[in-house]
Amino acid sequence: MDSCVNEPATAATAAPNPLRSLPDGAEFAALYEEHSKAVYYLALRFLADPQKAEDVTHDVFLKVYRKLGEFRGESSLRTWLYRITINHCQNLKQSWSNRNIVTTADDTVWNTTAAPAESPLRALETKELGERIQKTLEALTEEYRLLLLLVADEELSYDEVAALTEQTADAVRGKLHRARKAFAVHFAKTA
């Protein structure tokens, strides 16, 4: 888990994507580069466990590699990826719940690795903010947490968020209002 926190900031951008070494790898690598952050971030903040978020991201893209031919294009690729990710995360949470496991990762795992261009001071600020955001999201219901994370993705419309969460767009708007309010209240408590 420390690797998530202490990874050299330049590692992600300096190394060539190993997926490009695969046969037909260029296209899949491009797809991964475009969408992996969205999948990883959703899993990270939804599950509150960096190691599990890594596993989910790996599993989602492996499934995509195998099943892309079955994608009918009835939704956007991003929506399809999110649907797989949400199902995977919810299955994991269900299995934890069934086994009565409570995650016990220490506070450092909530940290977000600083972007390459940031100064150390900025990195410290980012780390603190990441911890507060994670604690705030964990204080929310699973439904509010998921709604906020999905709506925060500007590539998704309300209709797409509604489809992903199996409700109407009006219901999303109504719940979003309450989710924002709950987020603001809990975020203030983390200060």
Partner: protein, 71 residues
């Protein structure tokens, strides 16, 4: 609508107040999450693991997703 604006204003005030210590201002929870997402880096180990996992898969017909991607 006025009531909703009022609520949003109160929420934004609460967010702004609690974020003073980080010297950052965010207009909404979504904006804050977008900022957080932008700071998050996908661990490079995932692409490495994925490459290894895909290499172990049985050979698949080349045309199916190439055709889809090139549409």
């Amino acid at each position: 609508m006025k009531q909703e604006s009022k609520h949003r204003s109160q929420e934004q005030h609460q967010l702004s107040h609690s974020q003073r210590s980080t010297a950052r201002e965010f207009a909404s929870a979504e904006e804050l999450l977008r900022h957080d997402a932008a700071q998050t880096q996908v661990p490079p180990v995932i692409a490495e693991r994925l490459t290894q996992s895909i290499a172990k898969l049985p050979q698949q017909p080349r045309s199916w997703w190439q055709r889809w991607l090139k549409r």
